[in-house]
């Protein structure tokens, strides 16, 4: 259907810019509100130590969030195979240490996780299978193979140097946080400044038009899943190194945490819109809120309840703002 009236277009523009601004401002305000409330409610909250803790705690899932942003933006709904890729990264990066040394082990672990992502990508991008089904199936198979491979036992780390590095600090900032920030920056650059990011946004925005504009849509779509798998592999590897132990179910739940952060950040699940800073802001908000609740002694089920309400609120508000901007 065509838009009637040139004048109405102005309203459209104003609407959508307003929406974008409002939703960005909303996120910032929400984070500020949590910080303010937290500072009043708990003396321990607004301390360098605690905030650094929050940052450290969110780094592992944060790396996954960066990848998941690509999946949502490209219109790939969600990657449910994250637990498998994290397990792959964690178990292999520890398990292969005695055989090939810590650095090659880490690299190989991440590469193999990327291979799982490639399988997802081929099924979603090239064969055209619904991402939910494809990643669910591949994740199940991947996790099954990982479990069969290690026979279900815990794999321990054997290289203390790598453990020290992963747990260590650089200029007073934990190494995992630095790695997360680096990956977030790279992710942000790729999504917003590089041709690949523009292609990702175009493919998510209108698949056919992107295809007809010589964008290699299939590869771009597949690429988002490879990016997520690589990120999860790195995340899993770091997890393994910091914990110095890994078990097959080490990554369970990370997929939902990552999706939650991305969605709360206002990245559209229908694709074509979103950025890494938004997703990271969503993650920061969720983590700070959880932290405040824990410091306040709120029980786990209540935390889950609040988080659920939060997601409903976030997507509801997003939909409402968007609707107002468009209708």
């Amino acid at each position: 259907m065509e838009i009637s009236g040139v004048n109405r277009n102005d309203r459209f523009t104003r609407g959508s810019r307003l929406v974008d601004m409002l939703s960005k401002a909303g996120l910032v305000l929400a984070i500020l509100a949590v910080v303010l409330y937290g500072s009043f409610a708990s003396p321990a909250f607004f301390t360098a130590g605690n905030l650094l803790n929050v940052l450290t705690s969110m780094s592992i899932v944060g790396i996954v969030v960066v990848g998941m942003t690509f999946v949502l933006v490209v219109g790939g709904l969600a990657d449910l195979s994250v637990p498998a890729t994290i397990a792959c990264g964690a178990i292999l990066s520890l398990g292969l240490q005695p055989l090939i040394g810590p650095v090659p082990a880490f690299a190989l672990a991440v590469a193999l996780a990327g291979l799982i992502g490639l399988l997802n990508g081929v099924l979603v991008g090239y064969v055209g299978i619904n991402p939910i089904i494809a990643t669910l199936g591949v994740g199940t198979i991947g996790l099954g193979i990982v479990q069969a491979a290690v026979g279900g036992v815990i794999v321990y780390g054997s290289n203390t140097a790598s453990a020290e590095f992963a747990k260590g600090r650089l200029l007073g900032i934990p190494v995992v946080v630095l790695i997360f920030l680096a990956i977030a920056l790279i992710g942000h650059f790729v999504l917003s400044r590089s041709f690949w990011g523009r292609w990702t946004l175009a493919t998510g925005g209108n698949y056919s038009a992107a295809e007809a504009s010589a964008v290699p849509v299939k590869a771009v779509k597949a690429g988002a899943f490879v990016i997520t798998a690589l990120a999860s592999g790195i995340s899993g590897g770091l997890l393994g190194l910091t914990l110095q132990s890994a078990r097959p179910l080490i990554g369970s739940g990370y997929e939902f945490s990552a999706i939650t952060a991305v969605v709360v950040g206002g990245v559209s699940i229908i694709g074509g819109f979103g950025s890494v800073p938004r997703a990271v802001a969503g993650l920061v908000f969720v983590q700070l809120l959880t932290n405040v609740m824990v410091l306040q002694g709120v029980r786990t089920p209540v935390q889950g309840f609040v988080l659920g309400i939060l997601i409903v609120g976030a997507v509801g508000m997003d939909a409402a703002l968007r609707k107002r901007g468009v209708a």
Binding site: S4, G5, F195, R198, W199, A209
Partner: protein
């Protein structure tokens, strides 16, 4: 004055205001039973808004609506349907996963309580389709039909509801001339049954042929309602745009050079085979035929959007194998697709981002898009094509259809192709924008580009093209030169009355 008894619809003083915008102001619009009433106007003149008011999608800000003499208030499409008002949209709006019969009776399936009387439904649907002269099996899954067959099902659906008022919005946009003629037979039949028909079209020739009355809208206001006798196309255009548009189809006085694109005996194993043609620098080659003849399929295959199974393609004398659009771009081929909204624009992106999409790699150093190059590229084309508003940062879906189309063409010129394939470049574009697009195409060939233009509109083909290839059932005719061109000749080739 009209007699109340045969006044099917009487809309008086209709205004519709959106926050800050007046889309319709004080429109009076009346349609009599048993007539075909055409509504014409440029895009954005308020036709769609008026029809949305009529079918209950929008509530008017002020004004009254009388249907069959009684004042009514409609809050949703179902209210309009209960009053016997039916819409046939330009875009097919049916359910691909249901059968033809179920689509014809969608929302009104016959049955008792909730039980579906399937046999009765199929019988009735078959009868309606037969009455409309459409050879379609009512048990077939709708998704398996061709586009024009689906369009007929859409009309059958409206007709089966035994409406008192039927609104057709650009019903012929996906129909060939042949099928259009069949549609007009159906419309005349409906008119004979006393149905009031509202006919919206950009194709003034069709309006002149089928309408009894015509209403012209401009900028949200009703300009004039007149009987069709005594009005000419030129006059309608003047009323629509408020000015005389001279030379709708500017001819291109370009110098014709060497052959740029040559396809030889290509086929995709399904919708076309044994198609050969070539197009030369500075030349516009028309590709026409009935809808479904395989024109778009040929273009998509040459551009790498689908696979060729036989034949060869060469550009500037060199054979190329094209498996994807990016390979096509590298070979120097560009393609402006038929479905602008579906295949042309990325709605969430700005004009700038849309324009630079195909050649992004060339604007990139070390993976990073060079912002200045990106900006200046779009600035050039926004200016050259006078895209309005002249703001490259504006989201493209906020532009009018004509300006969107200009941006889509600009996107391809940025790639500096040797040959540009345009698929229905002026469909759904208003008269003024159409002239501008033709002007742009004229400039391109003047600069030595080779252009293939697919169009169903014969006057456009005749007016613009240097040579014309006519397709029928997946086969292509030999090219006709300007001297050989005539509407009759093309139709004869397209319908098979003359062997290719």
């Amino acid at each position: 004055m009209t007699v109340v008894a045969d006044c099917a619809l009487d809309m008086r003083g209709i205004s519709k205001t959106f926050p800050g915008v007046k889309a319709l102001s004080n429109v009076n619009f009346a349609v009599k039973f048993g007539t075909v009433h055409a509504v014409v106007g440029e895009n954005g003149a308020g036709k769609s808004t008026l029809m949305k008011v009529l079918n209950g999608s929008y509530a008017p800000t002020s004004g009254t609506i009388k249907v069959g003499g009684n004042e009514v208030r409609m809050r949703k499409p179902a209210d309009a349907q209960a009053l016997g008002i039916r819409m046939v949209h330009q875009e097919i709006n049916l359910v691909p996963d249901l059968t033809v019969a179920e689509n014809v009776y969608l929302g009104r399936m016959p049955g008792k309580w909730t039980w579906l009387r399937k046999g009765e439904m199929i019988r009735k649907a078959a009868a309606v389709l037969k009455e409309l002269g459409a050879a379609i099996n009512p048990r077939e899954r709708l998704g398996n039909l061709s586009i024009s067959q689906q369009q007929l099902v859409e009309i059958a659906k409206a007709y089966a509801a035994q409406p008192r008022i039927i609104v057709l919005d650009e019903p012929t946009s996906s129909l060939s001339e042949h099928e259009t003629a069949a549609l007009f037979r159906i419309l005349r039949k409906m008119r004979g049954e006393g149905i009031a028909i509202i006919y919206i079209s950009h194709r003034l020739k069709e309006v002149l042929e089928i309408a009894d009355e015509v209403t012209v809208l401009r900028e949200g206001s009703m300009i004039e309602t007149r009987p069709i006798e005594g009005i000419t196309a030129a006059e309608m255009i003047r009323l629509m745009v408020g000015r005389e548009v001279s030379n709708v189809f500017p001819k291109s006085p370009a110098e014709i050079g060497a052959s740029v694109l040559r396809v030889e005996r290509i086929g995709d194993g399904a919708s076309f085979r044994d198609v050969s043609f070539d197009v030369r620098a500075g030349e516009i080659l028309g590709l026409t035929g009935l809808v479904g003849a395989g024109r778009t399929e040929v273009a998509r295959a040459v551009f790498g959007l689908s696979r060729l199974v036989e034949g060869s393609v060469s550009v500037n004398g060199r054979k190329v194998v094209i498996n994807s659009p990016s390979e096509a771009v590298r070979a120097g081929i560009a393609y402006v697709p038929e479905d602008r909204k579906g295949d042309g624009i990325v709605p969430g992106m700005s004009v700038r981002e849309n324009i630079s999409l195909p050649i992004l790699r060339r604007l990139t150093s070390f993976g990073r898009i060079r912002r200045s190059a990106d900006r200046s590229l779009s600035a050039i084309y926004v200016k050259q094509f006078s895209i309005s508003p002249p703001d490259g940062e504006r989201r493209i879906n906020l532009l009018s259809g004509g300006n969107q189309q200009k941006a889509v063409i600009a996107k391809w010129l940025a790639a500096k192709p040797a040959v540009l394939i345009l698929d229905e470049p002026t469909r759904g574009v208003d008269v003024g924008a159409k002239a501008e697009i033709h002007h742009i195409i004229g400039q391109l060939v003047a600069d030595g580009m080779a252009v293939v233009m697919i169009s169903s509109e014969l006057p456009e083909i005749l007016g613009v093209c240097d040579r014309v290839v006519v397709m029928r059932d997946g086969r292509a005719s030999a090219p006709l030169t300007r001297a050989e061109l005539s509407e009759e000749r093309i139709m004869a080739l397209a319908t098979g009355e003359e062997a290719a």
